[in-house]
């Protein structure tokens, strides 16, 4: 019939919404492509770390450096209790939802007194 008549409002609205969904899908695909394309560079970076792991003989990630048993979780003490409570002694703060205590982590200065230097 009227082949050139403007499309009804409902049809235009559906097209707009479907276009938005298409854009969302395209963005997701773009992100997947980005992940794929950035892989070689990331693998190069990881290879450098892996090489350091081999050369130095490391066993763990340097993510949780605070406590003795958390710096090397893979080699943790067999008898380390499950210490996930904030402010417990030898606390494993990395696993906690509680905020980090404001005070108590270092005093911020190091005196440069000549006779303190031993070597």
């Amino acid at each position: 019939m009227s082949g050139r008549a403007p499309l009804p409002r409902a049809t235009r609205r559906l097209r707009l919404v479907l276009a938005l969904f298409g854009a969302g899908l395209a963005a997701l695909a773009l992100e997947a492509a980005h992940a794929r394309l950035s892989r070689p560079a990331a693998e190069l970076r990881m290879a450098a770390s892996a090489e350091l792991v081999r050369a130095a003989g490391l066993t763990d990630l340097a993510l949780f450096t605070e406590a003795r048993h958390s710096r090397n979780p893979a080699l943790a003490d067999l008898h380390t209790a499950f210490q996930d409570a904030p402010m417990s002694f030898g606390h494993f703060p990395s696993g906690s939802f509680a905020p980090r205590p404001a005070a108590g982590f270092g005093k911020g200065t190091l005196g440069f007194d000549a006779d303190e230097v031993r070597r």
Binding site: M1, S2, G3, A5, L7, P8, R9, A10, T11
Partner: protein, 226 residues
């Protein structure tokens, strides 16, 4: 040709508030005619229209449309029968609020998978014939009573139903609008459609247009005038 054979309809069957809306009604309604059911409220007119229009199933008895038994059909086929044969204009119009006139008129066509441009053209033609073209993009709640009725008629006819069923079409209309409605009925009849109405309005059943008046009382046919 629509035939009802010993149709009985009970509501809330077996419960204390059981209601016998129709008792043993047998009736034949011809094509290409205007038929009116007349009677006081509560006489079973609306129930009869529901059963004739395949919207409700009788508790007992049979309904045939053009010789096909429809009373025992499962829901899907009953809907198809209803969609292809009948257009409804409800007493309170039952337009969907918040949608425009054109969107309301398009609704019965949606399950058929229409081409949007062709459908838009069909809606335009239909609305023009009913003097509603300028209201096509108006939300239905902004229409007057007469405009709502014409929008409901346009919606009932969008699938080109051969039978139009209207329940108390003039209950909310003044004399002018009643005449306007009868003009539309005349046009429909001229197009070769059947019209089935229920009414207790003498302006309707005294009109020359009406081919047959069926009286009803207490869920039974009362007197049949030719």
């Amino acid at each position: 040709m629509i035939s009802l054979r010993s149709v009985t309809k009970l509501y809330n069957e077996g419960r204390p508030n059981e209601l016998r809306a129709l008792s043993d009604v047998s009736l034949e309604i011809g094509r290409d005619a205007v038929t009116v059911f007349k009677g006081p409220s509560g006489s079973g007119k609306t129930t009869l229209l529901s059963i004739v229009g395949c919207m409700a199933r009788p508790t007992s008895g049979r309904v045939l449309v053009d010789g096909r038994m429809v009373s025992g059909l499962p829901e899907t086929f009953l809907t198809e029968e209803r969609r292809s044969t009948f257009g409804f204009v409800f007493q309170r119009f039952n337009l969907i609020r918040g949608l425009t006139v054109a969107e309301n008129v398009a609704l019965p066509a949606a399950p058929l998978g229409p081409d949007p441009r062709a459908l838009a053209a069909r809606i335009e033609t239909r609305l023009e014939a009913l003097d509603l073209a300028d209201k096509a993009d108006t939300p239905v709640e902004h229409l007057s009573g007469g405009e709502m009725q014409r929008a409901a008629i346009a919606r009932a006819l969008i699938n080109d139903a051969p039978v139009l069923i209207a329940d108390e079409p003039t209950a909310n209309l003044d004399t002018d609008l009643t005449h306007r409605f009868l003009d539309i009925v005349a046009d429909l009849r001229a197009e070769g459609r059947s019209v089935i109405l229920s009414s207790h309005d003498p302006r309707i059943w005294q009109s020359d247009l009406v081919d047959r008046v069926v009286g009803m009382a207490d869920g039974r046919l009362a007197e049949v005038a030719a």
